[in-house]
């Protein structure tokens, strides 16, 4: 139940980000200045936190999506759906610790 709520909320969040992300990338057709100015906003400390949140949402949606697919197609899927949720949460945590550490190190190191 909660994994379904999480999957739905992250799906909607990622969708709206994708709309914005295609628009900001489109600025490469306007001019290098316009693109660099807008993409520069992603390098603000608040946005760095936002990026970690966004990647957290994507990674949860991705791993939980794979779990849904296994429940649907794997014979033992319904039997192990709960165990698979724990695997999703552990993999999410490991991925996010690694991503956040690297993202923050590169951010601080390159200032």
């Amino acid at each position: 139940m909660w994994s379904w709520v999480g999957h739905r909320i992250t799906g909607v969040g990622i969708f709206f980000f994708l709309l914005v992300h295609v628009l900001d990338t489109s600025l490469v057709r306007v001019s290098p200045e316009a693109y660099n100015a807008v993409i520069g906003a992603y390098k603000h400390p608040i946005m760095i936190a936002g990026e970690i949140g966004l990647v957290g949402a994507i990674v949860f949606h991705a791993f939980n999506g794979l779990r849904i697919i296994l429940v649907d197609f794997w014979k033992q899927g319904t039997r192990y759906h709960k165990q698979m949720l724990y695997v999703v949460l552990v993999l999410w945590l490991v991925t996010m610790v690694a991503f956040s550490a690297r993202h923050l190190m590169l951010f601080i190191g390159g200032e």
């Binding site: 628009l23 490469v28 165990q83 590169l106 200032e111």
Partner: protein
């Protein structure tokens, strides 16, 4: 029978035949409905595109944020460098289409779930489909018409043009 983990989750119940196609009375088969098997096609599409998107998005995030200088390397020249390679053009194009169609179909499900009035549902889905069409066409055109070495009226390279343009222009 020994208790299996999550035994309440074992389906179907023992002794009851699962409804396999062919064994089902034709009157229960949803054939001939005007929806055709559209919903089944989208259901499969959500799963196939989901698997592809894991690879597409994880590599996208890794190459853009986890290697080199990470977030600091993202600028016009970085994009120009990537799209000089047709593999990355194709990568981004596939990711754009699959993510937009997957996301739009997911949003369609959610609108169907929560918007109970016919007119509200119709409006929300119209806005959704128009936005999706605009974004897919815009994104596709940007990838294919991208010009890395833009010049001004006098033929001078624009400021912030990637360094490899020096060899291309002049």
């Amino acid at each position: 029978m020994t208790a299996a983990p999550n035994s309440e989750a074992i389906l179907p119940a023992q002794g009851i035949e699962a409804p396999r196609s062919g064994k089902v009375d034709p009157k229960y088969l949803r054939k001939g409905s005007s929806r055709g098997n559209f919903e089944m096609v989208t259901w499969v599409f959500m799963r196939v595109s989901g698997v592809a998107l894991v690879v597409l998005i994880f590599v996208h995030l890794y190459t853009n944020l986890m290697v080199g200088q990470g977030i600091h390397q993202i600028d016009f020249a970085f994009v120009a460098g990537k799209w000089a390679n047709p593999v990355w053009q194709f990568w981004d194009l596939t990711m754009l289409w699959l993510a937009m169609l997957h996301g739009t179909n997911g949003m369609r499900t959610i609108v169907n779930d929560y918007a109970e009035k016919d007119t509200t549902r119709m409006w929300l889905k119209s806005i959704l489909y128009v936005s999706t069409t605009v974004i897919i066409i815009l994104g596709t055109m940007v990838i294919f018409t991208f010009e890395p070495c833009l010049v001004d009226d006098s033929g001078q390279l624009l400021e912030h043009a990637p360094s490899f343009c020096q060899n291309v222009v002049n």
